[in-house]
Symmetry: C2
Subunit: 197 residues, 2 copies
């Protein structure tokens, strides 16, 4: 491995869900360790004055169609949860509660959470939903989810994302170069293969 | 030709400039007549609550870098005019003043205006700038730019774009299917070739 590929996403981001379906394969293809970094887009939107995508007039309607056709093209299911957009604090905390000791399992959990939310349209906003999905993987996170050090870790990650200029989801950084959007993953790959432009 | 490919753009949009560099070649490749449709993004932003891209914290910095690397990759010059974003009413009116009688020349003028603005960083916000660039093509539009029917035509086009759900620049519609963004031109091409997904 000659470096890392940072993958920033919010669990409430449907384009993040699509990116999560192929990011590990892309990292392997490019010879990069993928570092999964869930964060809270809401904190970033306060900086940028943005709002949740699907609620924006015109743009929201387009995004819904584009998400559905992008999912069809990739052959992955796409279904929106009833409560959308949703708070992803519990999902993020669960990820970081696992990540320090078992990063591979944290990624497995992230994929399971995303597939619940956008593959089957389940609500993952509440801690009990997240704990229940963790339970299907044999994980018991009930004691860790509310720990002060986990809350602090998430705050630290959100701040770190902001400091790196991350303003959307999904967002990728490789060799200091930023790429925003699920639709830029091929560009990112070309950029790495060609050694930049 | 089995149909049209509508190309919506604002003359003040640097991603529209990049799209304009390859849209006609793409149309030819796909066997579609490209219909150039300049409009005023400001009118749309009132509907969507959006703001000019490069002024948005974090996102604006990224967009500038992304525009420059995208232009490098395409091998086209990219230089921002001093006054940016700028009003593109005069440029739009000049386009529509020509388009009814000579659509090919209107496209030639659009390309010339874009290359002045983002290839050489010239101001094209004022009517006299636009007339001067038209002059280099042997066109005298001085009498037509302010005609009530030209103003009305532009209003009509902006309204038409809004009614079709156009919310950004560049924006493409082919067979009723919408694609937003310079970075979706390859997707659009795949969509047409594969008969949709």
């Amino acid at each position: 491995m000659s470096g890392t590929l940072e993958f920033y996403f919010d669990f409430s981001s449907p384009y993040g869900y699509l990116a999560a379906q192929r990011i590990d394969a892309l990292g392997e293809e490019l010879g990069r360790d993928v570092i999964w970094r869930p964060f809270l887009l809401g904190a970033v939107f306060k900086e940028t004055g943005s709002q949740p995508l699907l609620g924006i007039p015109l743009k929201g309607d387009y995004a819904r169609l584009d998400l559905e056709r992008s999912a069809r093209r990739m052959g992955v299911p796409m279904r929106f949860p009833d409560s959308f957009p949703f708070a992803s604090v519990a999902a993020c905390r669960a990820f970081y509660a696992l990540e320090e000791n078992d990063p591979a399992m944290a990624v497995t959990l992230a994929v399971a959470l995303y597939e619940a939310a956008f593959g089957r349209g389940e609500d993952i906003n509440k801690p009990e939903n997240v704990l229940s999905i963790a339970g299907t993987l044999g994980l018991d996170l009930a004691d860790r989810l509310g720990l002060p050090e986990i809350k602090e870790r998430l705050r630290h990650e959100v701040e770190g994302a902001l400091n790196k200029g991350v303003f959307g989801s999904p967002f990728f950084i490789v060799e200091g170069e930023s790429f925003w959007g699920h639709d830029r993953m091929d560009d990112l790959a070309d950029w790495v293969r060609q050694g930049g432009w």
